[in-house]
Symmetry: C2
Subunit: 351 residues, 2 copies
């Protein structure tokens, strides 16, 4: 921190009391135009910037929002981190807010302690949560302690107990299903996440919706669950390709891009060509998706818009005390069609 210019110095130079300078800085009227102009002049001349700690102490708000997230394992990238962070602090800056990043702890007790600490020490005015999952400890904790927060993601479909913006993952997968069906696929498998993943279940739901819409039966053999890694994608796909010809899928819908990468590798390993022989779709539209061989059809989320919106609405809540409607919002993802689902020719006799 620097020894910087204070209100008093500005006041002395402008020949007014320092409180008057404060009024000018905060646009609190009742200052004559000439005085105001003179004060602004001195402010510019001395390059005065209001001290944020003094201000926060007095105002009892820090204009800072806290955010943490679970680190990705070394072999996996967080596909949305950069865009999400950028969109948030860009929106925040415009309102005079900043983003404080702090460590994630897998241990709930420790994590809650950190939330509590950051809020009670006055470092942050509230939090932005992301990647909520069933039984998320932070949500009830924050609600109970009246610590303001908004979330990117939700817990239960009908829950409105806190403001959030979430992506309708099911809708995205349903788009992928429609696309595959329109290409002629009739036997479509799903690589899903473990059942305890809220996001995974939300996405998978679109698979069922897609089947239903096309009038296809769902076959338990065609749904394989596992962690969202390419290793799981590889194994699951190897299994699927080994199924008897009458139920063997011609397309595989994956709940994220990593699984899709593994799936495409397995397809190739089996001597088939992804896209032409077996359609594969991912989810997340990871930047590398378009550079895979073949480029991967995937589902992209409007991350920058979500981050910006979330931040703006949260700040409005912090300043006015009421969260703008709609409190909870579901946004549609977008299907990016690439070659991993192109060129499929239905085998005759099928369908």
């Amino acid at each position: 921190m620097s020894k910087s210019v204070t209100l008093k110095e500005v006041a002395a130079k402008a020949g007014v009391s320092y409180q008057t300078v404060s009024k000018v800085v905060n646009n609190k009227a009742s200052v004559s135009p000439e005085t105001e102009k003179r004060i602004w002049g001195v402010i510019a001349e001395l390059n005065y910037t209001p001290n944020y700690n003094g201000r926060s102490l007095r105002r009892q708000r820090s204009n800072t929002i806290g955010y943490t997230w679970e680190p990705s394992p070394a072999d996996q990238a967080n596909p949305i981190l950069d865009a999400f962070l950028q969109s948030m602090f860009r929106a925040a800056e415009e309102e005079g807010y900043y983003l404080l990043c702090f460590p994630f702890h897998a241990d709930d007790v420790r994590m809650l302690k950190v939330y509590h600490q950051l809020y009670n020490t006055g470092r942050v005015d509230g939090f932005i949560l992301s990647r909520l999952n069933y039984g998320e400890a932070s949500v009830p904790f924050l609600l109970e302690n009246k610590i303001p927060f908004v979330a990117f993601g939700r817990l239960e479909d009908q829950d409105q107990s806190f403001p959030y913006i979430d992506v309708d993952g099911g809708q995205g997968v349903a788009q992928a299903m429609d696309h595959l069906v329109s290409l002629g696929h009739r036997s479509i498998a799903a690589l899903a996440w473990p059942e305890d993943s809220r996001v995974g279940n939300n996405r998978l739901e679109g698979y069922f919706r897609g089947l239903a819409k096309a009038g296809l039966m769902s076959d338990p053999n065609l749904i394989v669950r596992g962690e969202g890694t390419s290793a799981v994608g590889f194994e699951a796909t190897t299994y699927l390709l080994g199924l008897p010809a009458d139920i063997r899928p011609t397309a595989i819908v994956c709940m994220n891009d990593m699984m899709a990468i593994g799936a495409m590798q397995a397809v190739r390993t089996a001597g088939l060509q992804p896209g032409r022989d077996i359609g594969v779709t991912g989810f997340d539209d990871t930047p590398t998706a378009r550079y895979l061989t073949p480029p991967l059809t995937s589902i992209s989320q409007p991350i920058p818009a979500i981050g910006e919106n979330l931040m703006r609405r949260f700040i409005e809540y912090l300043e006015t005390g009421s969260y703008p409607e709609p409190r909870c919002e579901l946004v549609a993802p977008n299907l990016e069609i690439r070659e991993s689902t192109a060129g499929y020719v239905p085998a005759k006799g099928r369908s």
Copy 2:
């Protein structure tokens, strides 16, 4: 911000003056063991946490470090962001510091204004910079205004005017070269970045070192420059593969993974197999590198160690006023050998 417990409340309950409580909290001795124990008891009971704004105001330091970075274009991921951020704020937390993230502005004037503002308002005690490039405006600005900072990256090879940790990219590429030479490659091309990129030039230098060490001549035809995108990698490689047989390269060293992805695609498009026919190496060891077809040999940087170190040393500087030796550090990256450089069989008659 919350209405939380203050020193005075603790003091009242413990029957001492609030200044004494402050002493206990800050371990400033001259308090009897019994009193101290009693005070700690009350602190625990009331769940007291010292107000950070009051403390910062008085101490004239915010225990907050600022960081910003250039956002990645939508079709490219920042391969190190997550790990770098996590390592930094994890180290920071242990020392009672936090990381403030703020927007990057391409416009120098605006960017410098933000640095100035954040520092002069007392929001941050200093900055961490990354991805320095020639003519970086921030460095002279911060030096001149005596605003503390450290950098991940350097400007000139001999410059010691500010503390930094940098990766010796040249050393990494040299490792790749050694590896390729040991496999029998004698004609090796380089996909380099534009000449105005400091990081790019640093990496490319390892290419020349590698050639020299193997006693190979450098051929200007085999060095192609362009932005570090897969499109450039594709085009450059297509050009290289079209060269006359006597100078056509058998291996391509790329200055980042994106170029390598494009290169491998071009190799395949030419009817050749990356790894077997043409060796390809990348740089960054992007998480997806190992999931490409074939898995990409790449150079990984010890990002978590760098982030942690940088933060710890910076905080030590902020607290003691002197930066620990060595002020400037160069760390070695690590070559991750995968199939994109495996299985090469030198054509007879060559070499």
